[in-house]
């Protein structure tokens, strides 16, 4: 009895008689019901509107943030850009004391180290991805993918630490002498000069390790997205397994893989900590990979807190702005290429 009474009390509480616009059987429409009706309609619609505007506002934070970053960094770098003009990008004199700033070494260093990274990482990443997608035994696939992806989870500073204490000595004592003497590459300008360790080569090597998982992941996705029919058709025509890859799979996946490579490039361009720890941090335009150098990111990291004058700071900001422009364009191209082959975003 008690339960039933409680239940019906709740039931009447749940029957929104007066507070809605819907009329109960037998209820007369009067001024009170009209007022109650209006309140609840407005209440619901208001909450819905608040929700819609709130999520829109949050979503618009993203374009807003990008815009603000662009504007602020550009504004801060503008004095230096205006003062030095286009020469900022081409001169190699960086003298805070004299107030002369040319970012060419940093820009060239960025491009060089990233290219080295890609040259080393791409065959390894692509080879590994091909192995994973087509030739690896199924029990190996997951663990191997996991390990390669794990490379991407290692923080940059840890790479740098390892680079300083493991890679640099290795380079100085083993690899560089090997390249210079055993392979006689020391005769070329690219491997000449003193080899103390910190160098463009070291930065390129570290970057290649950091970039590898990204190229591998995108390549893997894109290769897996190639329909089985392509592979089967090639095999049916008498191709060997390798010829299936080169003839049927790779051409299909080509733009996606290139997209992945360019994505890796984008990452390499912006890498800071590991690079600044192994590159030597010297404003020097040298043809030799054994020489220390700079990248835009490591330049900023190294000098920002010590910036002596306003123009010095502005020059660093300008370098940041140039880096921003370059990485945005590169990433944009990469995403477009990956999207074109239908590979999922990495």
């Amino acid at each position: 009895m008690e339960t039933r009474r409680l239940a019906s009390a709740v039931a009447t509480a749940n029957r929104p008689a007066l507070s809605t616009g819907v009329v109960e059987p037998g209820e007369r429409r009067g001024p009170t019901s009209a007022a109650g009706r209006r309140a609840s309609i407005e209440g619901t619609v208001l909450a819905d509107r608040v929700y819609r505007w709130a999520v829109l506002a949050f979503a618009l934070c993203i374009p807003l943030l990008l815009l603000v970053i662009f504007v602020e960094v550009g504004r801060a770098g503008w004095p230096a850009l205006r003062q030095f003009g286009f020469a900022f990008l081409t001169t190699s004199v960086w003298d805070p004391v004299a107030g002369e700033f040319g970012a060419a070494p940093a820009i060239v260093g960025t491009i060089l180290t990233s290219l080295i990274a890609l040259l080393i990482a791409t065959p390894l990443a692509l080879g590994g991805a091909i192995f994973l997608s087509d030739f690896s035994p199924s029990w190996l696939r997951q663990p191997l993918s996991f390990l390669i992806d794990l490379l991407a989870a290692v923080p940059s500073v840890v790479y740098g630490l390892w680079g300083v204490f493991v890679l640099l000595p290795l380079l100085r004592e083993t690899v560089m002498p090997f390249l210079r003497d055993t392979l006689h590459l020391g005769a070329t300008p690219f491997f000449s000069g003193p080899a103390y360790g910190p160098s463009l080569l070291a930065a390129g090597l570290i970057l290649s390790i950091m970039v590898l998982p990204y190229v591998a992941a995108v390549s893997r996705e894109v290769l897996l997205a190639v329909p089985r029919a392509q592979r089967e058709a090639a095999l049916a025509l008498g191709a060997t397994r390798w010829e299936t890859i080169t003839g049927a799979v790779l051409p299909y996946a080509r733009s996606g893989i290139i997209g992945g490579v360019i994505l890796g490039l984008g990452r390499a361009l912006g890498e800071t900590m590991a690079v600044t720890m192994v590159i030597g941090n010297r404003h020097e335009l040298s043809a030799s990979l054994f020489a220390p150098g700079y990248t835009m990111a490591s330049l900023i990291a190294n000098e920002f807190t010590e910036a002596t004058s306003d123009i010095h700071l502005s020059a660093l900001m300008a370098v940041g702005f140039v880096l921003l422009l370059i990485t945005l364009s590169v990433n944009g191209i990469a995403r477009w290429l990956v999207w074109r082959t239908g590979g999922r975003r990495a």
């Binding site: 409680l6 709740v10 749940n14 929104p16 809605t20 009329v23 109960e24 059987p25």
Partner: protein
């Protein structure tokens, strides 16, 4: 003319001659973009009776049902014209809150949709709303949950696991849970869109018995593609074809002596 009250053993409040029917459509049209799904349907659903809507796939019966509780408009590019009267009041008229309407007109869908992150108890209570200014105490909610589960013939099966996940019970039980959830707020009308289409025969039977019982407390409209089901549970039947209402009659007459030839063709299985 014998009074229906003396023939029927279940007591039914006799409908006053002038009281408005629970649901009624007047010249109802419904579109998805440019496609007309419901064309000019004028139809009454008698209070505290079960009305079945039958017809071949694509005839618009589900769309018609969804117009009754203003669910049709939740789909993009959906349009409605005409009137739907809920106890005499046009639900598409100015000042009517669709949300309040949906609390008075409950709906159960073809596939069971328990909320996966809620327990059985919380699922049933999901539709309960306190009056503004009041709070629902736990005991009151528990009482409502029990009542609704009993009403849906599910109480005995789940009473020891009310706190368990709602997805851990069988499909038939989940559908009855959804019915209990719709019943918890004691709607005046219950709309069922092919509720047993994805259930096994035993669960189907339980749901049909339930639907037959529900007429004592509410008006029921059930869309079904199963004519035998319509014959078993409904008092009146409506036949629809290509968006139009072809015929409506009490169930017995509809299945024994339909007046339209198209109805007869459908019922005898010549198409559909």
């Amino acid at each position: 003319m014998t009074d229906s009250a003396t023939i029927d053993s279940t007591p039914r409040p006799s409908a006053a001659r002038d009281a408005p029917t629970a649901l009624e459509t007047r010249r109802l049209h419904a579109w998805f973009g440019a496609t007309a799904a419901v064309r000019d349907v004028t139809l009454g659903f008698p209070t505290q009776e079960v009305t079945a809507i039958i017809g071949p796939s694509g005839c618009g019966k589900s769309t018609l049902l969804r117009c009754l509780n203003r669910m049709h408009e939740t789909v993009p590019l959906a349009r409605v014209a005409g009137e739907v009267l809920f106890f005499g009041r046009d639900v598409y008229g100015p000042g009517v809150d669709p949300i309040a309407l949906r609390r008075q007109v409950g709906m159960v869908f073809q596939r069971p949709t328990p909320f996966p992150t809620m327990s059985i108890r919380d699922n049933v209570a999901a539709g309960l709303r306190a009056r503004p200014g009041e709070r629902l105490g736990r005991r009151e909610v528990d009482a409502v949950v029990e009542r609704a589960l009993r009403h849906a013939a599910l109480w005995d099966e789940v009473k020891d696991r009310l706190g368990g996940s709602a997805t851990g019970i069988s499909g038939g039980q989940q559908q009855r849970l959804c019915i209990a959830r719709a019943l918890a707020s004691e709607p005046q009308v219950l709309l069922l869109d092919e509720p047993t289409a994805s259930l096994d025969p035993l669960s189907t039977q339980k749901v049909e018995e339930l639907v037959y019982e529900l007429r004592q407390s509410m008006t029921v409209v059930i869309v079904t593609h199963n004519m035998q089901q319509a014959a078993r549970v409904s008092d009146r039947t409506v036949f629809m074809l290509a968006g139009e209402m072809i015929e409506t009659a009490d169930t017995g007459t509809m299945f024994t002596a339909p007046s339209d030839s198209r109805t007869e063709a459908y019922i005898t299985g010549r198409f559909g």
